[in-house]
């Protein structure tokens, strides 16, 4: 629809303005009263408010812009009133719309369940690994990785488990077939811990080192509620000049608070690992009862969560074969390791470790 162009104003006195605007107001009211369909309302809107050819734009272009500086104000005021009127009329016309009966015929059952698209879940192990890794990333630890099939050298010997040492008995090992003819240190096995990556990293890189090593490990263990031949570890290694046992304590205390909440307390016990000295087990105050004692913490108020210690000089000696900077007289470091399944079981209330590896949709959906 094209509008009749409005006439130019000949006089800008009050009376002339009143008359001209009153004519437009009448035209708007008449038009609005005749609106009967949404299409007509839309046409009305375009007629008046159309950005290119709307009547109001025309008024603005022809009357307002042509007004002398003295007349600008009276024209402007009347223009505003007219515009408000048109908008009010339009709102009223729009509000009318289809009848209630017409709308009622379109009713739907909004109590039917919403159509959901399945969202895939992050595996609770991946999720826990990522949480742990990001806590240490914030402390300046990069991620280190290594192979799942390792040599006896990396898994045991360089971690200060000499051949025939009783400490090896604590880690029942799955071995690759046909290794008997090979030299002990070349024999292939499934890594029993992520510690070999400590050595692989130190061989590649002089100190300082700050790495966190997430990974899958295997032991020749029978499956029960809390043990599995497959499990995951996160191991950490920090080597530099002047790294101390109190730095180890502070780092792990901070990490445990970041993972389990700022009210968590830590305590350290002497322990034994061939690759660290001094070695410690770390307990955190029970996250279920806050340390008062409950079934989950066997009424002790504490939960054992990780092993750690200062890197044994014998481990540095192996690293120094390729990177002489690992001189235990000049540098020092700490290492720590934790079982991811155990932490995930605790965090999410999982009672059977086997659920992690069954791919059961019902179990996994809970983590979406």
């Amino acid at each position: 629809m094209t509008n009749e162009p409005i006439p130019n104003l000949v006089a800008f006195d009050e009376a002339a303005l009143d008359q001209a605007f009153a004519a437009l107001e009448r035209q708007a009211r008449d038009g609005a009263s005749a609106l009967s369909s949404p299409e007509a309302v839309e046409a009305f809107r375009l007629q008046w408010l159309g950005r290119k050819q709307g009547l109001l734009k025309d008024v603005s272009d022809r009357w307002l812009k042509a007004a002398s500086p003295a007349a600008k104000k009276p024209v402007g005021e009347r223009f505003k009133v007219l515009k408000a009127l048109v908008e009010t009329l339009l709102d009223a016309a729009l509000g009318a719309g289809p009848s209630d009966a017409a709308l009622a015929a379109e009713a739907i059952d909004i109590t039917l369940p919403g159509t959901r698209r399945l969202t895939g879940a992050e595996h609770p192990i991946t999720r826990t690994l990522n949480e742990i890794v990001s806590v240490f990333a914030a402390l300046g630890y990069s991620i280190g990785v290594g192979p799942e099939v390792e040599t006896d050298f990396y898994n045991f010997e360089c971690m200060n488990f000499p051949p025939g040492h009783p400490a090896r008995d604590t880690q029942d090992t799955l071995v690759v077939a046909g290794q008997e003819r090979r030299a002990q240190r070349d024999r292939l096995l499934l890594r029993t811990h992520t510690s070999p990556v400590q050595m692989r990293t130190m061989e590649q890189q002089p100190p300082p080192v700050r790495i966190v090593i997430p990974g899958k490990v295997h032991r020749n263990d029978a499956q029960d509620a809390t043990h599995s031949p497959i499990f995951h570890q996160v191991e950490g290694l920090c080597v530099d000049t002047n790294i101390t046992f109190s730095d180890l304590k502070g780092t792990l205390d901070h990490a445990m608070k970041a993972l389990f909440g700022s009210s968590v307390k830590t305590r350290f016990f002497p322990s034994f690992f061939p690759f660290t000295e001094p070695s410690a087990d770390v307990q955190i105050s029970c996250i279920f009862c806050g340390g008062k004692g409950c079934r989950k913490c066997k009424h002790s108020g504490w939960i054992e969560l990780l092993g750690c210690g200062m890197v044994d000089p014998a481990v540095f000696a192996f690293a120094a074969e390729k990177q002489p900077a690992y001189d235990p007289k000049k540098i020092s470091g700490f290492a720590f390791g934790m079982g991811v399944e155990r932490i995930a079981m605790m965090k999410y209330g999982i009672s059977e470790i086997g659920q992690f590896y069954a791919g059961d949709m019902r179990f996994l959906s809970q983590f979406a």
Binding site: S142, E148, A177, L188, K249, F272, P278, S332
Partner: protein, 703 residues
């Protein structure tokens, strides 16, 4: 391990703490008390203890008493080794150590006129009856109980022989090939020439440090006894025990290093108890030592220790004074070291090591002892100085892009077993024969390192269906293995599997089974995360032998990106589905993500969006069954009309009325220019070009 607090306290002056506090103080110093049981008035408590393998010295009452003495700074009482005067003998009992590399010390004491009988509380310090009852340790005879008492008291294994069954004297030697020995467990063993034995001049008597022999065991008729207390080399005992599948208290201790100086003490304890029931000692204690072994144990060179090194390793303490020279001296002295001050500027010592602590060898071991007894929780919590920025793994972003895409597509992440059966490996190995068996698998079904993630995926899918979960969407990112038992190669892989209805289930819309193209869409979306110019799906005739055997030969595709095969997917081969009792079609695939990760991730870039009206046109085509969409697709691409901005299949329709070998395809095309509104003549020309091109492929325009 069970420990009686009454027995332990018998070796100490009165302690200022109760049993609960003692347990906590010990535990905080690494001597872990796992459980405390009250034994009733006057009986003290029983500790259930878990001592780490390096601390064999503390796996007995006296060893734990020594720890308590160090903690509370009190003096440990000496063990009672007093014995009645011995009667002279014409000739010392003959003892010879032939295997000097395996036996460091052998003591033998001859007791005569002994009466074998029940045990009782013999004298103060030998309350065998009371202690054994509280420990629920079975009493056997005074001879056996005496050796057990010495073991529980101080952790030194001893052995009592029936002296009259010994011919000549004792020789500690390696076994001779083919020699036989019936051990105390009643098993007749054929010995290995590497086995270490305690023998007499005619025959082996015992597996040294592991188990005594049947023929020389104490019986109710035994009159004369030879008490053995010795020091055997750890590896020799370990090898002998391993070879015979034995793990005894004695082998446990010797394997981890016994106390070289303990043999005569234990011998005295055993002899004292036996003599309390009558009898006498004949001759001096025969004590044969190997100097080289003594130098490795009881007479080790002192170790240098500096206070500065203690502080460099241990750091800051909560207490202001921290660890001082006095702390170091007090702790180490209480543990049995002797310290000689050395060095003028800094506190430093030469530390002589106790014979019972073979785990202490180096300065760091001494530093650990200082930290342990001082108390780990008295160290402050400090943080290391900044050590440089963090570097990400090169594939970290790509891996999370893959994870995100699959999760957004409704797939849950799963983790399956690392192992599979030989049959599964043969079925799924990308390179035939390149699968690696385990030497000691958990089970036959887990005998191989998985060459593919497909076996695990299939078993997880089957597991769900058998649990009546009918809609399954899973993916796994994991390692697959290839190569040989000499050299194993590892690669990251991605598997995905789907079965059941499409996820958009709703009471308002009909469900349908997921099918090949649903999965293809997921693969396309995955690949779209990477910067690829050429992604291609193809298939091969079955006779080409290229298609993995686990896939349906006519409903599967190879995926290539930039010319490299990046994986396979499709419907599970019906034979494999039947073998696994899977009724609904299972869709499964595997991508070699290491090849994907070599591609850069696609970087989003914005393009100008045309302001001009697009024009859509539909073409209804009839095609021969052999004419694939790909041909139409490539034909339209080859037109190279810039204004032909999009074309897609809107519908595929099969009906007998169209023709037995024909199908109909509704092609939707969009024309649009970036700089103008298309004129009618232009549109007509494009239209004609499309019709002509499609016609050349053999497709007919439906009228």
């Amino acid at each position: 391990m069970k420990i009686l607090t009454n027995w332990l306290r018998a070796y100490l002056p009165p302690l200022p703490v109760d049993d609960a506090q003692l347990a906590e103080d010990l535990t905080l110093r690494g001597i872990a008390v796992e459980g405390i049981y009250d034994l009733g008035t006057g009986n003290g408590s029983l500790y259930e203890m878990d001592i780490t393998t390096n601390r064999v010295d503390a796996m007995n009452h006296y060893g734990i008493a020594r720890e308590a003495a160090a903690i509370y700074g009190v003096a440990l009482l000496p063990l009672n080794t007093e014995l009645p005067k011995h009667s002279p003998s014409a000739k010392d009992f003959s003892v010879k150590i032939e295997a000097e590399d395996a036996c460091g010390r052998f003591t033998a004491r001859v007791l005569r006129n002994i009466t074998i009988g029940d045990s009782r509380d013999w004298f103060p310090g030998a309350e065998v009856d009371t202690y054994f009852k509280l420990l629920e340790q079975k009493k056997i005879s005074n001879a056996v109980d005496a050796t057990n008492f010495a073991w529980l008291a101080m952790g030194q294994p001893t052995h009592a022989f029936d002296l009259d069954k010994i011919e000549g004297g004792i020789i500690v030697r390696r076994a001779r090939k083919g020699e036989k020995l019936k051990t105390l467990d009643g098993i007749e063993r054929t010995l290995d020439p590497e086995d270490l034995v305690v023998a007499d001049h005619a025959k082996p008597l015992a597996l040294a440090g592991v188990m005594g022999g049947w023929d020389t065991m104490i019986t109710p008729d035994t009159k004369n006894v030879l008490v053995e207390a010795a020091w055997f080399e750890p590896m020799a005992v370990r090898r002998t025990a391993r070879r015979h599948g034995l793990h005894t208290d004695a082998s446990h201790r010797f394997e981890r290093g016994a106390d070289f100086a303990a043999a005569p003490v234990a011998s005295a304890i055993v002899s004292g108890i036996l003599l309390a029931n009558g009898g006498f000692i004949e001759g001096d204690l025969v004590d044969v030592r190997v100097p080289a072994m003594e130098a490795r144990t009881a007479a080790r060179k002192p170790v240098a220790l500096a206070l500065s090194e203690v502080r460099r390793i241990l750091g800051t303490t909560i207490d202001k004074d921290g660890i001082t020279a006095a702390t170091v001296e007090n702790v180490l002295t209480a543990l049995g070291c002797s310290l000689a001050a050395q060095g003028a500027h800094d506190a430093a010592w030469q530390v002589t090591l106790p014979s019972w602590r073979l785990d202490i060898e180096r300065e760091i071991d001494l530093i650990e002892e200082v930290a342990r007894v001082y108390g780990y929780n008295r160290f402050a919590n400090t943080l290391p100085a900044f050590g440089g920025g963090v570097t990400a793994l090169p594939w970290a972003q790509a891996e999370s892009a893959v994870r995100d895409t699959l999760r957004a597509a409704g797939f849950h992440e799963a983790i399956a077993s690392t192992f599979c059966s030989a049959a599964e490996a043969a079925l799924t190995a990308p390179q035939p024969g390149q699968s690696v068996p385990l030497g000691n698998p958990l089970s036959e079904e887990a005998g191989m390192l998985r060459p593919s993630l497909v076996p695990g995926m299939l078993s997880m899918i089957a597991g769900n269906l058998h649990r009546d979960v009918s809609d399954v969407r899973l993916f796994e990112l994991g390692t697959v293995f290839s190569g040989t038992t000499e050299k194993v190669d590892e690669r990251p892989a991605l598997a995905f599997g789907a079965v059941g209805s499409l996820p958009q289930q709703s009471p308002l819309h009909p469900a349908r089974l997921i099918e090949f193209h649903d999965l293809k869409g997921v693969v396309e979306q995955l690949l779209a995360r990477f910067q690829t110019r050429a992604v291609y799906f193809d298939r091969f005739p079955p006779e080409a032998g290229l298609m993995p055997a686990w896939l349906h030969p006519y409903r599967a595709a190879r995926v290539t990106a930039e010319g490299a095969t990046v994986g396979w997917f499709g419907q599970l081969h019906p034979a494999e589905a039947a073998a696994r009792k899977l009724k609904d079609p299972v869709l499964v695939g595997e991508l070699y993500v290491d090849r994907l990760y070599k591609l850069p991730l696609r970087k989003p870039a914005a393009r100008e969006i045309s302001r001009f009206q697009p024009v859509r046109r539909d073409f209804s085509l009839i095609l021969d069954e052999s004419l694939t969409w790909e041909v139409i697709d490539q034909t339209l691409a080859a037109l190279q009309i810039p204004e032909l901005v999009e074309w897609r299949v809107r519908e595929v329709f099969r009906d007998k009325r169209i023709g037995a070998r024909d199908y109909s395809l509704l092609l939707g095309v969009t024309f649009q220019a970036s700089d103008r509104t298309l004129r009618e003549e232009e549109l007509q020309s494009f239209h004609a070009q499309v019709v002509a091109a499609v016609g050349k492929t053999g497709a007919r325009l439906r009228t």
